[in-house]
Structures are given as structure tokens and as C-alpha cells.
């Protein structure tokens, strides 16, 4: 088999034993890699209904089909577990070296079972697996942990996926970090923390062969050169932070806990400003010829010298969303998140909930008592120092951090029960996962996509903001096309998340990013790697299958139609300023769109999947367990 070794590595942390599972070529043809394969491995190896923090919740790593080859942006892997935030599938992606090392070590996937008695660093050294004591690594930040392991093993080519102190403390939205990139959002860091798993390190020394290297080389070369042109300028020159002004001008930039969509300080926290005043260098993930990561530094003030990579989503959550227009504070907050191993989006949206809760008088300064500020402090919008201190308290699970480290759904639930308040109304979450950098009140199709998302209101997984924001449809109205649109965008995104390929390359195949523009080249790349004969429709199927296995997982874990919902603010509290003011997505509109969406997917009115559909998609065992 080309493109795969055919082997999944299983590790039991409690028994300290390992075994190899061989998978058939047919299995790979259906699940491919990335989020799809990771979810499938989770489906196969989890005890349904288990607590996400229990030993029965497996950690599933699925490699990428193109990892370690010159195929641009193919160096990515998928990570899945049951999410402690949502109780549904937590599927994440991360890029760069780790996937390549794992590929060269000869593994298509890794499943980690059980929990370790002592803190452990798993070392996958080609076929040799070592359980290394991780006590010395405790308390180290994510990057520091990687460095320490590399030094200990004296090899630059050892790559590690690690958790930081936040994961060690089981901050519910802690993440897993590797090579400066994050597998974020759903709380992987907390799951690893529950297993006393500090890091997974890999060294792979074997070469990678593909079925048709001449075609792979030719296509890779062409795409590499195309990736230097106008189709990637915005990523290369300014990075994803270009979106700050884009969205501000459309009235969609989440401001002060999503109260408004226009931020008066937007220019000072824009990508343009960041580039002119803070940029050090723009770097790339391994195997990426684009280079979009804007390494930015603080040059003055109390946090001078802080340097980290800045992305739009981290920026909005910790800038405009907190009413902060001081770029230094934003960089510092993102740096805290990166080094502690915390999901920057959820951190920002949790901080903004705390700020609104303070400004509405539910919290007082006393609630923020801590060692640094024994009298507490004013957690007001715009207060950078307060945000930084609170972020650190979250990382350490101290003071108010104990409450906030569980995310907005649990935090608001606790406070409302304690104090008889309604802070849940401004907890910007759905299914337990916080919302991202687009305000859905001005994007109707995106409202639908956010509500039905399998891992929660994830902008990345649904991508349903696309038709709204590209002027394909009227973003302020609802019509009968929205169901099909939301299905199309999420399955399109799922293809890239499964191979995986970074979505930023999508215009570099033919200039057009739609299926007709991208699928033929993707099919060529897959076939040249594996020797298969995938056609256009097979690429469509990759996306549909990926999304279906995730949905099936959720159904088995107890998902119901009522779980597909939006935060209260998006349904009841319109913005008052800017071009998107005055709009909400009503319950009526949402239920109507959900009907359209379930129908477009071929599901029942309750959103369950017919047996026939699952069998059609090549998942007969799934059909038997949850098909209707």
C-alpha cells in the first residue's frame, strides 16, 4: 500500500503495553485520515456514554495522507476524543512536523487507551515505544516541554505534541500543542491531563514512498509556485488578521462579548497595524510554501519582549471582544494561551463573559481576589491588565480561575444557581463550546451552520459564512436554499480536514476554489500518492463520510435535535450599531432552517440518520448501532 503503512498503534497507559492493529485498504478509502479517521478510531475504541475524563475515553491521532511528501500544506494530522466541553466529538487538526515524523515512523494512527498512574511522556521511536517519566516536565509551558524533550533525547528531529500547565490542571478548554501549532477548541489538553499524559514524542527515520512520484513532484512543484501569487497574498503579507477590518466594516466583528459588531478601536488591533508595528517575521509550518504565521512582538510596556504567532481568531477573542484596543495586551494574552496550552478563542470568550458579568454587577472586585491583587480588581471591558491576570488565574485554576476554567456554559450555570442571576443569557456558547470570530446575527446561513455544527458553533467546520459574506445570498434573510448551502460548505470543509490539507491552498490548484476547481487536482494527488482511482464523486464522498461519522458519534452519545441551538444573544439581542444592527436569528427561523438542513442531508425530521444512508456510505456497523 502506498500512502499508508496499514498500521494503527495502540497504547495502553495503565498496563503500559502496546499492540498493532492492521487496517484494510478499504477502510482507508472510506476514512482517509485527519478528522474523519480520528473520529472513526474514537467511534471504534470508546466506551459509549463514558465520562470524557475517564480512562474509557481514548485519545485518537490520525495522520495525513500527504504528510512527509512535497505536497504543499499536507503536513497535518487529526486528533479526536470525546470532548469534555460538549460531551460530543472533539475533533481537531494541527499542522507541521509532528504529522511528518509520525508518518516516517510508519504509523497511520495512534490510539491511546486508559490513564497512567504517573505523569508520562510517550516516545514513539520508529517501531519502538517508550514510556518515559514526565515528572521533570511538569509545570513547563508547551514550547518549553518540546525543547526539553528534544534536548533530553539530543535529536532535533524528535517532534512532540504536548500539554502545558493548563492541561496539567485540567482546564476544560486546554489544548494540545506541537511545533508552535495547536490542536484546539474542544479540550484535548484536559483529556490528556486526565490521563497524566504530558506529551507524545515521535522520531521517524524511514523514508516515504508514493505510487507515482513523478506526478507528485510535478503537481507539488506547480502548486508551490502558484502559492506565491495573488491567491495567497493576503495570507502571506498580512496573515489571517486581515479579517479584523474586513469584518468590522461589515459590522460583524464581535465586540465586548458580542454586544456589538463594530469596534471603535479596530484600526489599532487590525492586521495592518500588527504588521506595521509588531511584525518580526512570517514563518511557515513544515511542508508549507505559503507561510502565513505572523510572528509578532511587544516592543514597549510591561510585556516587552513577548513574541508569538497571531491569528485572527485569537486576536478577535482577546481584543475587540474584550474591548481592548491595546495590541500589546492582545499579544500578551495570546502568548499566555499559547504557552499555557489554552484554547485562545474560548479563553477570550470566557473572559468577555466575565467582564460583562462584572459590568452588570453580578461579579464584584472581590470575586477577583488573588495573590497578586488581594483586594481583587475591576474586570471591566478594555482593562488589559485585568484580562492578563485573569488568564493566568485560569491557567493555574486559582481564584476566579477555578470557575472560569470550565468555560462559559458551566460557569454561568454555577453563578446563576448561586446568585439567582441570568448570566447564561450572555454566555456565548452552544453545545458547551464558545462561538468564534463572526457574528451570526448578520449571517443567516452561518447561523444555521453554527447551530448544527458537530463540535459546536465552529466557524471552521461549517464555513457557512461563505455564501453570506461572498454575496451569494442575502445575509440578512432566510430562504429555502440555506439547508443545502450549509450542507455543501461543511462537507467541502470536511474534505480539507480529512486529507488533511490546509484550506489556504484551495485557490492554488486552478484559480477557482469551488469543487469543480479543486476536486480534480485533489483526486490526482490522492491517486498519485496511493495508486487508487478516485474520481470527482469520490472526493465529494470524503466530505460526506467525514461529517457523517462525526454525526453518528454524537447520536450515539445522546445528541438530540434540541441540542442544535444558538446562544441567547444571537436569538434575542440585536446589535444597535453598524451595518448589521437590528438583526437576530429567531427560533422560528432557526427551526425552519434546521428542517431544510436535515432534509438536505437525507436525515429524519429529528436529525437522525437512516440505516440506508449509512450503508450507502460504507458504514454498515454504524447503521446497525444508530441508524433509523
Amino acid at each position: 500500500m502506498f500512502g499508508y503503512s496499514g498500521k494503527i498503534l495502540h497504547i495502553d497507559l495503565a498496563e503500559r503495553k502496546t499492540w498493532v492493529e492492521e487496517k484494510s485498504e478499504e477502510w482507508y478509502k472510506i476514512y482517509i485520515g485527519g478528522v474523519s479517521m480520528a473520529t472513526r478510531l474514537c467511534w471504534e475504541n470508546i466506551k459509549p456514554g463514558c465520562d470524557p475524563y475517564s480512562p474509557d475515553n481514548p485519545v485518537c491521532i490520525a495522520n495525513g495522507i500527504f504528510a512527509g511528501t512535497p505536497v504543499p500544506v499536507g503536513g497535518k494530522y487529526g486528533l479526536a476524543s470525546k470532548s469534555p466541553m460538549t460531551g460530543f466529538i472533539g475533533d481537531s487538526l494541527s499542522g507541521s512536523w509532528f504529522s511528518i515524523a509520525l508518518k516516517r515512523a510508519g504509523w497511520d494512527g495512534v490510539v491511546i487507551h486508559g490513564a497512567s498512574e504517573n505523569w508520562v511522556n510517550i516516545f514513539i521511536d520508529d517501531e519502538r515505544i517508550e514510556f518515559r517519566d514526565a515528572t521533570k516536565l511538569l509545570g513547563l509551558g508547551t514550547f518549553e516541554t518540546e525543547e526539553a524533550i528534544r534536548e533530553e533525547l539530543a535529536d532535533d528531529q524528535v517532534r512532540s505534541a504536548t500539554i502545558g500547565p493548563a492541561g496539567e490542571h485540567m482546564v476544560r478548554f486546554a489544548n494540545v500543542t506541537n511545533d508552535g501549532r495547536q490542536a484546539g477548541r474542544t479540550g484535548h489538553g484536559a483529556v490528556w491531563g486526565s490521563k497524566k499524559l504530558k506529551a507524545v514524542s515521535v522520531r521517524g527515520t524511514q523514508g516515504i514512498k508514493v505510487a507515482d512520484p513523478d506526478t507528485i513532484n510535478k503537481l507539488s512543484f506547480d502548486i508551490t509556485k502558484e502559492a506565491q501569487g495573488p491567491h495567497t497574498s493576503k495570507y502571506r503579507i498580512l496573515g489571517t488578521t486581515t479579517n479584523v477590518l474586513n469584518l468590522n466594516k461589515l459590522g460583524l466583528l464581535p465586540t465586548r462579548n458580542y454586544k456589538e459588531g463594530v469596534f471603535e478601536g479596530a484600526e489599532k488591533v487590525s492586521g495592518e497595524y500588527l504588521h506595521d508595528h509588531h511584525n518580526v517575521k512570517t514563518i511557515a509550518c513544515a511542508q508549507c510554501p505559503i507561510a502565513c504565521e505572523q510572528m509578532s512582538i511587544v516592543k514597549s510596556g510591561p510585556w516587552t519582549g513577548t513574541m508569538t504567532g497571531i491569528e485572527y481568531e485569537c486576536l478577535f477573542a482577546n481584543g475587540p471582544n474584550l474591548g481592548i484596543s491595546d495590541m500589546n495586551a492582545v499579544i500578551k494574552l495570546i502568548d499566555i494561551a499559547d504557552r499555557s496550552g489554552i484554547d485562545a478563542i474560548t479563553m477570550g470568550v470566557t473572559l468577555s463573559w466575565a467582564m460583562e458579568t462584572y459590568e452588570k454587577g453580578v461579579f464584584t472586585a472581590q470575586d477577583f481576589k488573588c495573590e497578586k491583587f488581594p483586594e481583587g480588581f475591576e474586570m471591566k471591558f478594555g482593562n488589559g491588565e485585568a484580562a492578563v491576570t485573569t488568564a493566568e488565574l485560569i491557567r493555574d485554576r486559582e481564584g476566579i480561575g477555578k470557575l472560569l476554567s470550565d468555560g462559559t456554559r458551566i460557569a454561568s450555570g454555577k453563578i446563576d444557581k448561586e446568585r439567582g442571576t441570568e448570566t447564561w443569557k450572555w454566555a456565548m456558547q452552544s453545545k458547551g463550546l464558545e462561538t468564534a470570530g463572526y457574528d451570526a446575527r448578520g449571517l443567516k446561513t452561518f447561523s444555521l451552520g453554527s447551530a448544527v455544527g458537530t463540535r459546536g458553533p465552529c466557524h471552521n467546520r461549517t464555513a457557512a459564512y461563505d455564501p453570506d459574506i461572498q454575496g451569494e445570498v442575502d445575509r440578512f434573510k432566510v430562504d429555502e436554499k440555506r439547508g443545502l448551502l450549509a450542507k455543501d460548505t461543511e462537507e467541502y470543509a470536511a474534505v480539507y480536514d480529512t486529507l488533511p490539507l490546509c484550506k489556504f491552498i484551495r485557490r492554488c490548484f486552478t484559480g477557482k476554489a469551488d469543487r469543480a476547481g479543486a476536486w480534480p487536482t485533489i483526486a490526482q494527488l490522492i491517486n498519485a500518492t496511493t495508486g487508487w482511482e478516485f474520481k470527482y464523486e469520490d472526493i465529494d464522498l470524503i466530505g460526506e463520510r467525514a461529517h457523517t461519522i462525526k454525526k453518528a458519534f454524537n447520536v450515539r452519545e445522546g445528541w438530540k435535535r434540541v441540542d442544535d441551538d444558538l446562544p441567547w444573544r444571537w436569538k434575542h439581542d440585536p446589535m444597535t450599531k453598524g451595518p448589521s444592527a437590528g438583526y437576530v436569528t429567531t427560533d422560528e427561523e432557526l427551526e425552519y432552517m434546521k428542517d431544510l438542513y436535515y432534509e438536505a442531508k437525507g436525515w429524519t425530521k429529528e436529525g437522525l440518520i437512516p440505516k440506508k444512508k449509512l450503508i450507502q456510505l460504507g458504514m454498515p456497523d454504524v447503521a446497525e448501532q444508530i441508524g433509523v
Partner: protein
């Protein structure tokens, strides 16, 4: 013939390329967004090949205009006729972050 004035706003790549945050453009009655694109290409040749197609007539995909931040003109919809005082916001859309 009546002349109208509109504001074209730049951000992102267009701002980097032109060095401006925005400019005023005069249009004759009946002129459309397509004419605006043509004028921009002539005034700022750096935009051609980056934001504007080499033919100077249309926008490279993923670049589009919003009228006053509310209406979004699809990249193929260049037939819109701006009104006096309209803000045509040039956006380079991108996913992710």
C-alpha cells in the same frame, strides 16, 4: 450629465498596495462598479494582478465590494450603480485564523 462622488475604502492587501485608506472617485450617471474597477486599475497599477484581473476589468476571486457595509456584491455582480455618497468597501475575504 450628473456627476456623483463615492468613497472607495481600502483595507488589507489593497491598503498595503496603494498606501491609502481610501480615495474619492467621481462617477458619471449610469456608471457601474465595473467602471470603478477600471478606474482603480488605472490609478493604482499595483492592484492589477493582485486584486484586479490582468485585463483590468474584473476582480480576482475572493475580492469583492460591499456597499456601505450592508449589501455585499458578489464578485460577478459588477453591474451595480452606486449612488452619491456610497461607500464602496473593497474586501479581500479569507477564511480562517
Amino acid at each position: 450629465m450628473d456627476e456623483i462622488t463615492i468613497q472607495v475604502e481600502f483595507s488589507g492587501i489593497s491598503r498595503v498596495m496603494t498606501g491609502e485608506s481610501g480615495i474619492s472617485i467621481s462617477l458619471k450617471e449610469g456608471e457601474t462598479v465595473a467602471d470603478v474597477v477600471r478606474k482603480l486599475g488605472l490609478k493604482f497599477p499595483k492592484l492589477v494582478g493582485e486584486i484586479i484581473e490582468k485585463d483590468g476589468e474584473t476582480l480576482i476571486p475572493s475580492n469583492l465590494f460591499s456597499v456601505n457595509g450592508e449589501k455585499i456584491l458578489h464578485e460577478t455582480d459588477l453591474g451595480y450603480q452606486p449612488k452619491n455618497g456610497d461607500r464602496l468597501i473593497l474586501l479581500s475575504l479569507l477564511a480562517g485564523g
